[in-house]
Structures are given as C-alpha cells and as structure tokens.
C-alpha cells in the first residue's frame, strides 16, 4: 500500500551562492504558510506559474498555493511516488504531467481522508477556495488539471484565464495581430478580477495593483541584470543554483520580498566576480541548460557536472523575464495595469521574433540559444527531456537540428528522465552519459574547434 512507502534518503545539493541556499527554507515557510492561512480562513487559490495573474492575486491578498511547486517539492524530497500511484489508481495515465498527477493524487487522498495524507512533505498542500487555471500555448494541464481536480472537490470553483501569445509565422508579422491578443488577455484578466471579487467578497484595489505591476517591472529588470552577471569567467552562479533562485521569480513576483532577494543576489554575484570566485575554480567547459525542466530529485547531477570541470552560466529554463526596457514599446506609458500586464506578457513571448527574421531559416527559440551561446561563451548544450511534460520538452531535438543548420555544430546532450517520477531515472546511466559528453567536449576542445 502507498501508505507504507517511506521517502528515500535525499542527498543535499551543494549550492554556489548564499542566495540559493536560502530558497529551501523559504519554500518550506511558504508552504507552511498556506496551511496556516487555511486554518486562519484566508482565501486560498491553487495557482500556476507563468499565467499573467501574479500581481492580481497579490493585490487582493489571496494566498497562492503553487501546485506545480508542491509537486516539485515532493519530487525533490523523493516522496512523490505514493501520490503518483494514487493518481494512477484513479485511472489517470502515468504518461500525463507528473506535477498534475502528484497534485491530483494528493488531492484525492486528502479529500478521502478529510485531512492531510500521512506525513505530507512540508505540511502538505492546503485545500483551496478557488483554482486558477490558464488557457495558453504553454501547456494543456493548465486548463485540464484543476478541472480534473473538481472530481474530488466539486465545490471549488475554477477560473481559466486565456493568455495566448502570437505564434512565430512566415505569412504575417506578429505585430499585425498583437493588438487583438492583448485585448483578449485584458478581457480575460477582467473576468478573473470579477471572479476573485465574487469568491472573496473583496474589491480590487486598482492603485495597489498598479504599484505591484510597477514593482514587478522593476523586478524583471533587476533579475535580467543580475543573471547577466553570470557571463563572467569564472561564472559566479550555475544553473543548479538558478533552479533554486527561480523561486522568487515565478512564485513571488509582485512582492517586495522577491525584489529584495534579487538585490541580495546581485550584490553577492558582484562580490564573487570582484574576487574571481567561481562555481568551480578551474572552468574547463561552459555549458548552457538549453531546455527542459530539471529532475527535481536529481539536482545533484549539476554538482556532478561541476566535478568534471563543467559549469552552466546560463539556462533557458525558468529565465522567464527580459529587461522590459529592451521591448519595442514603452511599458511605462501603459497605465492601465491589466493592459500593462498583457503587453508585458506578449512582448516577452515575442521578444526573439525579430532576431529570428534576420537569419535565414532561423526560429526565435534557436536565436535565443545562439545569443546565449555567444554572450556566455558556451562550449556545449545540455537539455532534459522529461517524459511526462509536452510543454517544455517537445521540440528539443528539432531545435538542436536547426541550430546546427543555421549556426554551427556544437556538442549537445539530451538527458532523459522526468520532473517528479523518480522511477524514470537511472543515476549510473545518467552519469555515464555525462561522462561521454564530457569526453566529446574535451575532444572538440583539443581539436581547437
């Protein structure tokens, strides 16, 4: 029985920065805070990252339960299997998003018991008052997961906010359609505000929302500037740490705490650079994490790369911001907060489109890789294909093929496992593949290519 399964022992990962080491306790406190908020009767919403609504829920003092985050925590603590198995017993396919399966398994179990499942990681996932989904190109679970969760919580309302962005096309320029995309997102966000007002009995404080939107703008810029510091040789922070430092970016956007976190990180990185203090003292290979979410239960693989002389100064994953002063519109002139959010969203997703148009046969995703390869002096690419997630893990092979075609052949490795399901992971095999990849990097380097 699932109840009898105990978490396997988890190895603690060594972080390079002080900032990254603070994240674990911060997440633990946040999750504990949601359980406490439930007891105190504060409004709680199941929420997804990257859905345009961060500042909205913050402005209304709604407590978000980041369900992807909780599943990731279960995965990182190597205690997700019992929830995955519960979901499977409910007839959910094991091939579906394992964040969702972990969350649904947890919900089914909690609702059956009327209390948290036994020994829930970090206090458990609090029962929500509402669930906020999203319809966009990012992933289907954003509009299916919470709908499926209603099977166990039929009394909990769901709002699904449409937040698409224009695709990259040859037959028209995205600027021809961006206005109606923004208009749609604004309408959907207005609907969300109404929904939240109805279910919380609170009114939106529009001035406060504007302040938080401005704070988020400043946080975006600060994150971008901070992450750019990692171009330094030796790099002061790697992707292993970035998989921690992304927490304030995606789970705390629109809060002063997030801004302060990145200010501290910025100071720390500058200090390290001044002292030539890198992730490892002798960098042999600089790599990019070119796509895919990490295996949360195997973040120590980043340390393994480090032990071979490899560092990751940059990653595509969870770099969910650009400096907004790089956009081709002046966001400060858009005073309506919902419209502001919508434009920022559309401009973020279309940011690489113009660059792609300038290189024959290229594509925005590949242009982004090229820019990072050049800016961060990259020797090789590592990606991860998580079997259960089609949103971030489809198109990786094609991107590498296209990169080779329009730019150059660069050593690459696609690791295969999952985000949460540890049964898909084989440490010996993974490390053998890393060893082979390192040999390739060495061979390429010794040939002077």
């Amino acid at each position: 029985m699932t109840e009898e399964k105990k978490p396997e022992e988890k190895k603690k990962r060594k972080t390079a920065t002080e900032a990254a080491s603070k994240i674990g306790p911060m997440v633990k406190a946040t999750i504990g805070g949601t359980v406490q908020a439930r007891e105190e009767g504060k409004p709680i919403a199941y929420s997804f990252i990257c859905c345009c609504y961060d500042e909205i829920i913050r402005a209304m003092d709604i407590v978000p339960v980041w369900t992807e985050n909780y599943a990731g925590v279960c995965g990182a603590k190597r205690d997700a299997q019992r929830f995955l198995e519960r979901a499977e017993a409910e007839n959910f396919s094991r091939s579906l998003c394992t964040y969702a399966l972990c969350g649904l398994g947890f919900d089914a179990w909690r609702e059956e018991l009327g209390e948290m499942p036994p020994e829930p990681p970090w206090g458990g996932q609090a029962r929500p008052d509402m669930m906020l989904g999203s319809g966009q190109m990012l992933c289907d679970p954003r509009n299916k997961w919470y709908q499926a969760a209603q099977h166990y919580m039929p009394d909990i309302p769901v709002y699904d906010a449409g937040a698409p962005w224009p695709p990259y096309e040859d037959d028209y320029d995205y600027r021809e359609v961006q206005d109606y995309y923004v208009k749609y997102i604004v309408e959907e966000l207005k609907g969300l505000v109404k929904f939240l007002e109805k279910h919380t009995g609170r009114k939106m404080d529009w001035d406060r929302l504007s302040e938080l939107v401005d704070l988020a703008d400043r946080t975006w810029n600060l994150i971008w500037e901070t992450y750019e510091l990692r171009r330094a040789v030796p790099t002061p922070m790697g992707t292993g740490d970035a998989m921690n430092t992304m927490v304030p970016m995606v789970f705390m956007m629109g809060t002063q705490e997030a801004y302060d976190f990145y200010q501290e990180l910025n100071d720390e990185l500058k200090h390290k650079i001044a002292n030539k203090e890198g992730v490892i003292p002798d960098e042999k290979y600089r790599l990019i994490w070119g796509g895919g979410l990490p295996s949360w239960f195997a973040l120590s693989d980043f340390n393994y790369f480090n032990s071979k002389g490899a560092v990751f100064p940059v990653e595509v994953t969870y770099r969910m911001v650009e400096a907004i002063y790089h956009f081709d519109i002046d966001l400060s002139k858009i005073t309506d907060p919902l419209e502001h959010i919508a434009w920022r969203w559309v401009k973020f997703w279309t940011y690489w489109y113009d660059k792609a148009k300038k290189r024959l046969g290229s594509h925005p995703d590949v242009e982004r890789l090229i820019q990072y390869i050049e800016d961060y002096k990259i020797d090789g690419i590592v990606m991860h294909e998580a079997f259960s997630c089609r949103s971030w893990h489809v198109g990786l092979i094609w991107q590498l093929n296209l990169l080779k075609k329009v730019y150059k052949d660069i050593p690459s490795l696609i690791l295969e496992s999952d985000i949460v399901d540890i049964s898909s992971y084989n440490e010996a095999d993974t490390r053998a593949r890393i060893d082979t990849f390192i040999d390739t990097l060495e061979a390429v380097k010794s040939q002077g290519r």
């Binding site: 959910f92 699904d160 096309e169 749609y184 198109g395």
Partner: protein, 387 residues
C-alpha cells in the same frame, strides 16, 4: 469522382481508405491544390472556400514510427508522431501546405517541427483559445480573420462571404449525410457495422467535400438496399476517445462479437454532428468549432453546480447512449493524450452513474498494442452478456 474506376458507395470508401490519399494525389496531378490539416479543429470551410482541397493527415497503425524520431520526441502522442512519420516518409508528398490548430500540446507544441521539417509552401497555426466565453469567441473570430487573409494571399484570390457561405453549406450537407448514416446504426442489429462506418468516415476526410457527399449518399442507399447485417445477439458498444483514424480498434471489438453502434470520436459523431449556423459566416464557424464541438481540448466554463457542469460536458454522450441503445462504453485513450487523459475519471464515473458500464483502455497506436487489448475487450463483453 471517377466512378468507373472506383466503383460506388462502400467500394469507393474501401478504396480510398486502403489507398489513403490516392484521390488527393490524382487531383494534384490535375492541377488542384491540397492543404493538409491535423485534428477536427481546422475550419475546413475556409480552406474549401479558398479553392483548396482540405486533406486530413492520418497516421498508420501498421507502420512502425522511425523517421519521425529523428525530429520529434517520443513523448508526443503516438498518433501525432505517426502522422508526422507518414508525412516525412513521403506518403503525403502532394501537399501544398499544412494548417495546424491549437488543439492539444502534442499538436500545438510540434507545429514548428512540422513547419520546418516539411518546409511546404504554406503553413499556418490557428491559435484557437481554450475558453468558450464571449472574449474567447471574439478572439477566435479575429484569428479566423487572420487565417482567411493569410490563405487568400496564398491562393491569390480573396475569400468572399459568398464563397464562404457556399462552402459552409457544402460541409453542413456532408455532416447531414453522416448523421443520416449514423441513423442506420440505430436498428437492431445495425444496418451497417462500426468498421464500415469508420472506413467511410476516414475515407471522407481525404477527398473533396462534394465527392464525400456523393460517396456518403451512395453508401446510405447501398446499405438500405442490402438489408441488415447478419443477426446475432451482440452487445451494442459506443467508443469514446480522441482521434481514431484506423478501423483496427473498431474491428477488434466487432471481431470479438459486439457491434460498435455509436461513438464520440474524430472522425465520428463529435466531428460531424454539429453544423455551422449560416448567418455571419465567420461568427458561425467560430461558434461551431469553439462551442458546439465538445472535445476535451476546449475548456467549458462551469455554470450552475458540478452535476450540471458534467451534463454540459458529457451530456451528449449519455443522450447518444440512449438514442443508440448502447449496452457498454469503451473509453479508448492514447498514451500521452493530455486533453482526454485528464478526463478519464470524470467521463467514466459520469457514464457509469447513468447505469452504463465503461471499459477504460489506454493504447499506444500500433497494431501490436491494439492486439493486446483483445482479452480485456472479450472480458468486458462477457460482463455485458451476463447482465
């Protein structure tokens, strides 16, 4: 349609099913332009109105997926991978372009892979919203306007309202024929087998709509004249799932001793039952695809209580169960199918709550995996027989 060469009715359907794409290839040789598309969410009316022939790209359960794996991850829905594999292997070399809808992650997230790998003269993604509220409908209409303009540019002619209305009428006529065909399955025993219906519908999405109307009419006439299929005491089964573009699974059920008399599939009732209401053509098309075609890819907003919500989402299934006197439902879902995979517990419990047994099967879209389902189907039929 070259009748002398192809025969009539079921023979035509069989020919076009067996040699899928043969008619499109023939028309291409005659100078027609063919646009390939995936899924039931591409508004074929607009393609027809532009003077192109819409051609549904299908996979092949008999063909191992090989070439696709060099460009597309194996975590994509196996049906989509098979479609892509067949395209890479040259089965649809006659295509002038592709149109792909934002249907599900497996389709939408592979759009660039399709576009860059096939490198056809035309490609377009219809970024259909998930929601069905007024803002979503307005947004979808704007998207359809962009598609219309884009296709007009490619065709070199403007797509007028008149042509659009004409195309809508043709496709509605085609859908009416399909509904008429389904009517023949209500008899006991049904006048036409599920395998035959699947074959006819799959063939119909590979030929011009005018020819499909003719073929369906001929099939209906032929079936009415030939009388019923052999009478035997058999369970009446409904199949619910995503896209089933092969007769293999339906035939497996019927070879096991049941009749497949109804479905909620594509191609099938889900795709063919709802019409476009002709008033404002773009508004009518948007309304049909976003609100009338009930598919897991679309997020229907909850109004009323949860029971009413389930009725709104799945009520058409229970009505079909009643109308077609269904004894049991087979819920047939592909691995890696997000829109339907997340709905399994809800669909299963909803249908069972109405008193109809459900068999849930997960499959991987290949003959070898389909064959392995035989035992479970037989056990399910035995269970139904004992009731």
């Amino acid at each position: 349609m070259p009748e002398e060469a192809a025969g009539k009715g079921l023979a035509v359907a069989d020919r076009y099913y067996q040699d899928y794409g043969s008619r499109a290839r023939e028309l291409k040789r005659q100078g027609k332009k063919i646009l390939g598309y995936l899924c039931a969410f591409v508004p074929v009316e607009i393609i027809t109105a532009a003077g192109f022939i819409p051609f549904r790209i299908k996979g092949d359960v008999n063909e191992p997926i090989t070439k696709a794996d060099t460009e597309m991850e194996t975590i994509v829905c196996p049906l989509v991978r098979s479609c892509f594999d067949m395209s890479l292997k040259g089965s649809y070399e006659f295509l002038d372009g592709i149109v792909i809808p934002h249907a599900c992650d497996s389709i939408c997230r592979t759009y660039d892979v399709w576009k860059y790998s096939l490198n056809l003269p035309y490609s377009h993604l219809i970024n259909m919203p998930h929601g069905t509220g007024k803002p979503s409908l307005d947004f979808y209409q704007a998207l359809l306007g962009t598609f219309r303009t884009s296709l007009s540019k490619f065709a070199g002619v403007e797509i007028s309202d008149r042509e659009l209305i004409q195309a809508i009428k043709l496709h509605n006529q085609n859908r009416a024929k399909v509904r008429e065909l389904y009517g023949l399955r209500k008899a006991s025993p049904p006048l036409i087998s599920g395998t035959e219906v699947a074959k006819v519908l799959i063939a119909s999405v590979s030929i011009p709509v005018e020819e499909s109307i003719k073929m369906l009419g001929d099939v209906i006439e032929e079936v009415r004249q030939r009388g019923g299929v052999p009478a035997r005491k058999s369970a009446r089964i409904m199949v619910v799932g995503a896209q089933v573009d092969s007769i293999a699974f339906i035939k497996l059920i019927e070879d096991s001793g049941a009749w497949v008399v109804a479905d909620d599939l594509c191609p099938g009732a889900r795709e063919f039952f709802p019409d476009v209401t002709v008033a404002d053509p773009i508004e009518g098309i948007a309304e049909r695809y976003l609100r009338k075609v009930k598919c897991g890819r679309t997020y229907r907003e909850m109004e009323g209580n949860y029971e009413e919500y389930l009725e709104d989402r799945f009520g058409h299934m229970s009505r079909m169960i009643k109308d077609f006197n269904v004894d049991g439902v087979v819920l047939y879902i592909y691995k890696y199918c997000d829109p339907f995979g997340f709905e399994v517990p809800q669909i299963k419990s909803y249908i069972e709550s109405k008193g109809t047994p459900v068999l849930y099967l997960e499959d991987e879209y290949s003959m070898s995996t389909i064959g392995r389902l035989r035992t479970r189907i037989q056990a399910f039929l035995e269970l139904l027989g004992s009731k």
